[in-house]
Symmetry: C2
Subunit: 387 residues, 2 copies
Amino acid sequence: MENIRVGIIGVGNMGSAHAALLAEGRIEGAVLRAVADLRKDRLVWAADNLGSSIRRFEQPAELFGSGEIDAVIICTPHYSHPALAKEAFAAGLHVLVEKPAGVYTKQVREMNEAAAASGRVFGIMYNQRTNPLYAKLRELVQAGELGEIRRINWIITNWYRSQSYYDSGGWRATWAGEGGGVLLNQDPHQLDLWQWITGMMPSRIRAFCGFGRHRDIEVENDVTAYAEYPNGATAVFVTSTFETPGTNRLELSGEKGKMVVEDGKLTFHRLRVSEPEFNRTYTGGFGQPECWTIDVPVSGTASDHPGIIRNWIEAIRHGSPLLAPGEEGIKGLMLSNAMLLSSWTDDWVTLPIDEELFYTKLQEQVRNSSSLKDSGSARTLDISGTY
Amino acid sequence: MENIRVGIIGVGNMGSAHAALLAEGRIEGAVLRAVADLRKDRLVWAADNLGSSIRRFEQPAELFGSGEIDAVIICTPHYSHPALAKEAFAAGLHVLVEKPAGVYTKQVREMNEAAAASGRVFGIMYNQRTNPLYAKLRELVQAGELGEIRRINWIITNWYRSQSYYDSGGWRATWAGEGGGVLLNQDPHQLDLWQWITGMMPSRIRAFCGFGRHRDIEVENDVTAYAEYPNGATAVFVTSTFETPGTNRLELSGEKGKMVVEDGKLTFHRLRVSEPEFNRTYTGGFGQPECWTIDVPVSGTASDHPGIIRNWIEAIRHGSPLLAPGEEGIKGLMLSNAMLLSSWTDDWVTLPIDEELFYTKLQEQVRNSSSLKDSGSARTLDISGTY
């Protein structure tokens, strides 16, 4: 089978890393053929670093119409993901989109419809699904090891970003440029894993966002969200960008015990008899079921971005299943949108959310955006060590 | 100096333990002289176990008027604490009241006023203040080691109670009998420590209580509360009685790092330069201040109930300061009341709370209480290992 010819739109922080990976021949069955970027300096970078055989375009439409590629990876600012993906599908291309899927679910729903209509392979860069800790946790939960889940608690505050980070790009942390803050830029993986691991979406959410806390930015960088599920379970999701050292601790509590992921370890506190059974039969007042603390063996390392790209290429070439189907991008975004909407309305938000209302509220933020900064000032950061 | 002659009202679960302690002469400067209990079987227990010299009364008023005692420990059901304390102060007695101070703050405010007017020594059984872990944490926070606190997160779900526990007393877990659930029975220590350690009370609270979750009870046994502080800090407090094994993890995040108490250990993640200073001066985009992980040495063991009783006796005899002044009982109860009120009204509650509104709402619960069970069915549980 021929190699899949790949193009990349947006060779900034993430796109340049993916481009280098492909250019170095590290993705079997795929070859980098072209890149597109509106910024001339990034095209100069591409010429200097990716080899002279790589075609370079300013406009995405030129790339789509070039006949040079079968598939495209979209690494542009968040807002543009759905529109570019729709154009790509229309051009008959397979698509891998960076996270988040988009900024608002209305737009992402249209992208999903275009993907379905196209019959092309649509993936999303949820590389944390390749993290063996979370993959193992999901496998255990889906196998019923916890029984029914009763509580979820994720403290994910290890996204420290100094003011200098926010000042590194005019589009950063603005309603007009990014369309959100920590929920949209840093947390898409966690919001996805939350629903992917548990297989559950909340019925309603009440969230409390702090905007520009300890930073000169306009978007949310401090979030506490409470969620309720159809089965009676509850959840708390806490995230911020100004705490250091932050915490990344996920706790799932269920009928058969508790699982905790923290410090790179998965611990299962496993009950010998389930809580409901113990409760039904125990007569002693105080007392609780016998519990074993198990360090769950987790093997392998995260295949990360290369793993997601390989999986997507495999799916294109052989029809194998996607680890992260693009259509699922809407779920994490729905959680993110619900949290912002709950804060803006100071009220509960029932899921699925009112997409029109969210869109209207977002447009208000964009119109009132005090920091429609010079987007030409964007500079590319060294992202080694980030997600 | 003469020994302080102590009486105990209510020799059920806690009162019988305190009585035995005093009867065994383990509280220097104090001697047990009398007990009172409405339940004849508990007076039989007292005769059998505390010695024949101990006077026994059915009615509290008989004890107060007996001339046998200088001081009284109140270990009756929650509702009766304030009224009995007021009677005791009126009789010129020093008072140590079991937690919680009462069921609603209006009642507790009156008790505090009576205490102040009496000039007697008024303590509350916040024995967790003697826990060296929390005492050390408080000392560090009050010494400014964290700088300003920005986030508090307490998961305290290790209160497992089976249905058989709830069935052990007709008053248990009823609005009429206890006036509340996990917040009033299990969490008073944590609600106190929360404000005692940080020295801060929230400006407003939004809480989500589940009532009778997985148990045949009418009160709250599943709580998630979000709190905001005047300085911009936020907090989450999560508690339940149906999870096993539960979690007890307290995290404080501040300008100078993070402190975590879990598994009997206090860990300080200490920044070499404070976050605000780093943020002001750093220009590198990604990056964060150097952090040292410190296992804070914590010496000693909790002196616990005996420690609080000794401290109270010392205060009576020598005027030494109380570790847990009775007047401070209203603070934790205010947090507890605010959480219930927020759930009942499905809205924010601003602190200090509307005491009349809480009282009215509580009375509605009491009137609608479907489980005004036979309170004569109470049996005394073995509480060794509980707080």
